[in-house]
């Protein structure tokens, strides 16, 4: 018990605030997506985070979040793949600023993502660098929800493009974290109703 308190004391203030938000269960969902330098949560880093909130199955555009993160580790290949340009530094934030803002935005909301474990792992390693713990939020994965609704075996995979195609959602503005987050939120609205959640 005391150990826990001690560790808690070393956390940055925003993380302590965050931990304090979990007394009540949230009715707010946050659809989010990240853009990264690669697929290894240990070595790769975040380039951007995009998110939008869903309440009462309504997407609240005002309650959205975007942070572009200034990274040293940046190669032309990454730029080509993600379309995220290194760009003008003053539009971007440092990782510590971005992650703090995101945690403040997130609160105790339920996370929604596509292959969300990877996004969470990326956030968690960024948190670790800021001497914080891991995310405590509940998380839902729309790929899993889709397979459950269609009663499709676990091992089959559906990309975000395939999922949006099957619901005829137009894919304009893909390959930005915010664009993906919006598409995830649209898919989530549908799947949530289909599954009767």
């Amino acid at each position: 018990m005391l150990d826990w308190l001690k560790i808690n004391k070393d956390y940055p203030q925003f993380w302590k605030d965050y931990l304090g938000k979990f007394e009540n269960k949230s009715r707010r969902f946050v659809a989010f997506s990240t853009e990264t330098t690669g697929l290894d949560p240990e070595k790769d880093v975040l380039l951007s985070i995009g998110a939008v909130a869903i309440e009462n199955n309504t997407i609240v555009v005002k309650d959205s979040f975007e942070a572009l993160i200034f990274q040293e580790k940046f190669t032309p290949e990454v730029a080509l793949k993600t379309g995220v340009l290194k760009g003008i530094p003053d539009e971007k934030h440092s990782e510590s600023e971005a992650i703090e803002a995101f945690i403040n935005y997130l609160g105790n909301a339920i996370l929604v993502g596509h292959r969300i474990h990877f996004d969470i792992a990326m956030i968690n390693s960024a948190l670790e660098r800021q001497h914080c713990g891991k995310l405590k939020n509940e998380a839902l994965d729309i790929e899993v929800m889709f397979k459950k609704w269609k009663q499709i075996p676990e091992e089959k995979q559906y990309s975000l493009d395939e999922l949006s195609a099957s619901f005829k959602i137009s894919k304009s503005e893909r390959h930005t974290a915010s664009g993906d987050a919006f598409i995830i939120s649209l898919l989530f609205q549908r799947l949530k109703q289909r599954l009767g959640l």
């Binding site: 199955n57 555009v61 975007e66 304009s172 987050a181 649209l186």
Partner: protein
């Protein structure tokens, strides 16, 4: 802060009025406050009597139906598609919604908070006017299609006209009736009626209606000299006046008029003559309210003066079909009605061509073929036709053929403007191969039937589904006769047709999975036309030709008739008839939804039960193909 999701919404909004009158910054502000709603099919956005929401709505995708309720019956009055705005009531009135908005298909709707949008309305006259007009006319976009440039009041009538085929709908009537006092001089009343182009004036005392002066009263009492023209209204008015409550349905209004033998009904606040006048319903209002029934549409077709008129009627027909499909009116009825109206449109297109070109130099017949020939054309699909003219002497032949080719060209181009695109295979009368004399046609059919596959042109089976649209019925009869004379016992012909009928790609694969398109723009969609409907159509045609059943061109009716003629297989034939209707319905619904020919179905959008329903239709297809195989002993040849 930058909000990329709001930007995405701005990109959408800026394409549609009234938002296109606003600048980027204003739109960004609005978009950042938008809430995105998702509605499953059938889900209600707002309901009659519900308190107004704090937002109005714009359809981002899908379709929302607006309906009113009269006599416990729901009547769709408008459909909002992508970019249409709805739910404007809170801008203008504090009372509850007067309409129900319900998703007619899966839809995404943007909710825009009124308090955010209000400042832009007040500061921007374009926006204000657009909203006012939209609200006043019930149409979401007054700049739409035909409405352009028309007055608001005209719009109302127009919208109400397309409302419905059925009776239980409310009537649009004059809410500001002209009234006069009992002491008014008849001459002044007559003058007022003439100036205002109205047929009646309600005579009121202390706001309550005590009588009515109509054209009829002026005719029978003044013009005959029974009363002086300077007499007072009280002397000649018809009293008491028949009063009715507001929100009367069409059926009720008709009953009242018949019962009291009057042409006008006075609407009062509580329906008695002891309450203030609220409006007047004339017989003409009833006619207008019924304007969308099929009979009226046919009349309108006959009066149409241009391709544009016909196009508008065809649009009304689409609405009629859509409401009928959603009301579960049997598809075979809808096909009949739509077939008649389609034929009337073709006939009128030919009429218009003849009016311009002068009368034809010989007798002729215009035959619709393919889906229209079978009276199965519900959606706007392609036009197929051929033209036969009577035999003329050699020296006249060229001129005559030339006339009919020009006639056909005019007609098909009119029909193209209406929305029937030309047959991709060139099966139209304006094609010189398909516009020829009766003798040439008899030769043509002889060739097809007696030497199938030998000549360079294969049999075009759609030429065996024909229906006269215009001209001499004796020509159609001659063709029917030549066909049946030639096919009787013609083994070669039936072999050929039978093999052709079996050649169609199957709907299901080995594991009973749907076979979908593997590539192209329709990848992963199910081709319901080629894989399911055509096999049934082909089978029906082949079997009626074989059974010598004349004059039935509709696939549904063909199978019904086959069931009577060939009782051994009646169950199978009836199943085929039903399957055909079910499949047609799938196609029609898909086509109406996507505003196309409905040929390709997106299976992802079907519910599990619909998929099962669809699959069940394939059982009779397989069985009928087996029957064809054994009946024409095709296994030995193919």
């Amino acid at each position: 802060m930058k909000n990329p999701i709001a930007e995405r919404i701005v990109d959408f909004l800026k394409n549609y009025p009234p938002f296109n009158s606003l600048n980027y910054q204003e739109l960004s502000h609005i978009a950042s406050e938008v809430k995105v709603l998702y509605l499953e099919k059938g889900k209600i956005l707002f309901q009659i009597g519900e308190a107004c929401h704090d937002s109005f709505y714009i359809v981002a995708s899908g379709a929302i139906g607006l309906s009113v309720t009269s006599d416990a019956e729901e009547t769709i009055i408008d459909k909002c598609d992508e970019g249409d705005i709805l739910g404007l009531r809170p801008f203008f009135a504090k009372n509850n919604y007067l309409m129900t908005a319900k998703a007619r298909e899966e839809s995404i709707v943007y909710a825009i908070p009124i308090h955010i949008f209000q400042p832009y309305v007040l500061s921007n006259p374009d926006v204000m006017n657009f909203l006012l007009e939209s609200f006043a006319s019930n149409t979401r976009n007054p700049y739409d299609k035909e409405h352009r440039g028309k007055l608001i009041s005209e719009n109302i009538i127009y919208k109400e006209q397309q409302a419905d085929i059925q009776y239980f709908q409310s009537i649009q009537y004059s809410k500001e009736p002209i009234t006069a006092s009992p002491e008014a001089i008849v001459r002044d009343i007559a003058q007022m009626m003439t100036d205002k182009l109205i047929g009646s004036v309600i005579i009121t005392k202390d706001d309550f209606p005590i009588g009515i002066v109509t054209d009829k009263d002026l005719r029978s009492k003044i013009a005959t000299g029974h009363f002086e023209i300077t007499t007072t209204a009280a002397k000649i008015m018809t009293s008491p006046v028949v009063t009715v409550p507001e929100d009367l349905s069409l059926a009720e209004a008709q009953v009242y008029m018949l019962k009291y033998n009057v042409d006008y009904l006075c609407v009062t606040e509580d329906g008695s003559d002891k309450s203030p006048v609220r409006g007047i319903i004339s017989e003409n209002d009833l006619v207008v309210a019924q304007a969308n029934n099929p009979g009226v549409l046919i009349k309108e077709v006959k009066r149409a003066q241009s391709a544009k008129d016909l196009k508008r009627i065809r649009e009304k027909l689409s609405e009629l079909i859509e409401t009928s499909v959603t009301k579960d009116i049997p598809l075979s009825h809808i096909m009949n009605i739509s077939g008649e109206i389609n034929t009337a449109i073709i006939r009128r297109a030919i009429d218009l061509a003849i009016l311009e070109m002068g009368s034809p130099p010989a007798r002729f017949a215009w035959l619709s073929i393919g889906s229209q020939g079978r009276k199965e054309q519900l959606l706007l699909t392609d036009q197929d036709s051929f033209l036969v003219f009577e035999d003329v002497s050699q020296d006249k032949y060229r001129d005559v053929k030339d006339y009919f080719l020009r006639l056909a060209r005019r007609t098909t181009s009119t029909l193209e403007k209406v929305g029937y695109f030309l047959s991709p295979d060139g099966f139209v009368s304006s094609n010189m191969i398909w516009c020829k004399s009766l003798t040439d046609w008899i030769k043509q059919y002889n060739n097809w039937i007696n030497t199938p596959g030998e000549s360079s042109e294969a049999i075009n089976t759609i030429f065996f589904d024909y229906e006269i649209a215009f001209g001499e019925t004796s020509i159609e009869e001659a063709i029917t006769e030549i066909i049946f004379k030639n096919v009787k016992g013609n083994k070669l012909f039936f072999d050929y047709l039978g093999n052709d009928a079996l050649k169609k790609p199957p709907p299901l694969g080995f594991f009973r999975q749907f076979l979908v398109e593997e590539e192209g723009e329709n990848k992963d969609l199910f081709d319901i036309k080629t894989r399911a409907l055509t096999p049934l159509i082909d089978a029906g045609r082949l079997l009626v030709l074989h059974q010598n059943i004349k004059g039935i061109n509709n696939t549904y009716m063909r199978f019904k008739q086959l069931a009577i003629v060939d009782p051994r297989h009646s169950e199978l034939f009836l199943n085929c008839a039903e399957a055909f209707l079910t499949l047609s319905e799938f196609r029609t619904v898909e086509g109406l939804k996507n505003d196309n020919s409905g040929q390709f179905i997106n299976l992802e959008e079907l519910s599990k039960t619909d998929k099962v329903k669809l699959k069940n239709c394939f059982i009779p297809i397989k069985e009928i193909q087996e029957l064809i195989k054994s009946r024409f002993k095709l296994t030995y040849f193919s």
